[in-house]
Symmetry: C2
Subunit: 339 residues, 2 copies
DNA sequence: TATTAACACGAAAACGGTTTCGTAGTATTT
DNA sequence: AAATACTACGAAACCGTTTTCGTGTTAATA
């Protein structure tokens, strides 16, 4: 086992000072050609690499960014992380991932853990519990300490920071409009409770499209699932009783379950009943029939978030101005609707 | 913006030395009751939290573990990360995630980036390119430096370190045996090229089961996909020409594609043709019919890996003894086979 | 009363770098 | 020859902790 070599080691071997070594390795003008060559050669030979921790301590920059998300076993978040990681890596940053598992307490603990010097900034999506409680003090504390935060997807207006979202309302609006244009009359919505900012926005878009049409809104055509846990029975009962000819679901899973059930009953998709979901994951792609979805462009979202964060981290100016970036969703048309 | 308070700040305010503050906060016996109370009260008031970076530099322990995986948009890896994160967090560690994206170079770069003090150890799964090249010098260098490494799932025998795998051979063997017991005669295998350690093991299990049976092996019943990219045509052609009555696939996607195709041709699943895949992901669960799979217990695998790594990191002893933990796979029976 | 022990605290080194500033020695200018 | 300007390097501070060791003060002991 050969331990890592330090500046001090090089200095001792070469009988120069630590400062000289440091400067020589940085190709400083201050150091003579001879000395530089000697030091650099030695460093290369012994594979010297500066210690990140020491540099972090000195610079007060860790080149780490903390990502706090509710769940990682979830296609959307996973693509966001990929976007973050790719972008951050390209700019020399590492990504520390923490999972809140939809718990307020875990979210708080994770942030506190990271806020003590481990990271230069946060990228996060709120846990459902946090959104329910409406308690954002942990976020406010962090921003007050001058640590930049970027919120994505599940955001709140109560914290002043940069934000990246997709226009969920628009996505739902377009999807619903698509149904209307295709002559669907009984358009249902399967969503979760309103505490999730995204569900709320999607419901709004759905309502808006119906209001604008001649169809109008029928409250009973909306099924609100109390939690994000799957409850197949609720969906089946709902579909059986309301008999929709089109269903908009706020995720893939609700949609796939719905499709499976109506197929079992002998209905044809999309002729008798059409489906559109949210999130362009594997499920939609390989479902039978393949599912039309409102794609959220998670990777793009991750990139944007990382860009906003790193720009802020690296900007000297203490700009107290925040922006919200709204990405446009895309309808990915597959076989679960007519086309 | 209120900046973080340091020991020095407290010392100045309270007119004591830094050492006294440090000791007082640690409840040292050396410090008088009075002083301790004073310091602790002040620290609490100003919400003092020690700087992680400084502590890391001092202790030469970061409490970070580096996870390097080929891809994060992949259910299996995602569950492993969750397992790692949960376990590591419980023991006070953070997880830095790096993606190799199946590239050898990225794997090397990521490891180098982290190996300079950012982490206490690695948990990783090899990129396909690395397994193809068979070049493991980056791993060897790291272990030689005394940084513990735990390899999971996609491992190699050429590096001496702890390893966690599932018994892929056994999983494939059991799945194939299941087909045989159910009277299937033309049992096909859809796999990827052998360079992936897991594909190799699964193929071996498949062969073993057939060899032990009266059916024997027909090389042409094995389809080797050259890459992990989906090639639907190859699968269709293969299924059409070989006409199997059972198909074992090394992942979910191959299986779901296969199912979709044979259903389109009017075959019944599982009566005419049965399917078993690997990886218990969302796809299997919500496929139509739902897919029987060999579950890999990713979360368990993550936990085990994290446990092995942290135990090693925290053990003072420089034990040069490594273990390989083999987890048992489970057959999750769903509607794609008779039951 | 002189010695020792206990107590409570501070100085300083250490972790591994970066960076400012001072300076000895040489080269250039007047 | 004296004044000035470079060149090339080292000392030391600093980032924020922890920890060892030394020491002044008081209390207990001989």
């Amino acid at each position: 086992m050969k331990a890592k070599i330090t500046l001090k080691d090089i200095a001792r071997e070469l009988e120069v000072s630590i400062s000289t070594v440091s400067k020589a390795l940085k190709n400083s003008e201050e150091i003579s050609r001879d000395t530089k060559e000697k030091v650099q050669a030695f460093a290369k030979l012994y594979n010297y690499k500066p210690n990140n921790i020491a540099i972090s301590l000195k610079n007060k920059r860790t080149k780490n960014i903390g990502v706090v998300i509710p769940d990682i076993v979830h296609h959307f978040f996973t693509t966001v992380i990929r976007g973050i990681e790719k972008y951050a890596n390209a700019r020399g940053y590492n990504v520390i991932v923490c999972l809140s598992e939809e718990s307020f307490d875990k979210e708080v603990i994770n942030m506190e853990m990271l806020a003590n010097g481990s990271i230069d900034g946060f990228i996060m999506s709120l846990s459902s519990e946090t959104q329910q409680k409406g308690d954002y003090n942990h976020l406010k504390e962090v921003t007050e300490q001058g640590i930049p935060v970027v919120l994505f997807d599940r955001i709140t207006q109560e914290v002043e920071c940069d934000k990246v979202i997709i226009d969920d309302e628009l996505g739902a609006y377009q999807a619903t409009k698509k149904f209307i244009d295709q002559g669907k009359k009984r358009i249902a919505l399967i969503t979760t409770d309103d505490y999730l900012s995204v569900s709320k926005a999607r419901t709004k878009g759905y309502r808006k499209a119906l209001e604008e049409s001649s169809l109008g809104i029928d409250e009973s055509m909306m099924l609100k699932m109390p939690s994000m846990e799957m409850d197949e029975e609720a969906i089946k009962t709902f579909l059986d009783s309301k008999n929709p000819d089109a269903v908009l679901c706020v995720n893939e899973i609700f949609a796939v379950c719905g499709m499976r059930w109506v197929q079992k009953k002998g209905l044809r998709i999309p002729e008798d009943i059409a489906f559109i979901g949210f999130t362009d994951g594997v499920l939609s792609k390989y479902a039978n029939p393949s599912l039309t979805v409102v794609a959220q462009h998670g990777e793009k979202m991750g990139e944007e978030s990382a860009k906003m964060l790193i720009d802020k981290v690296e900007s000297e100016a203490e700009v107290e101005t925040y922006q919200t970036k709204i990405l446009e969703p895309t309808l990915v048309v597959r076989d679960s609707i007519a086309h």
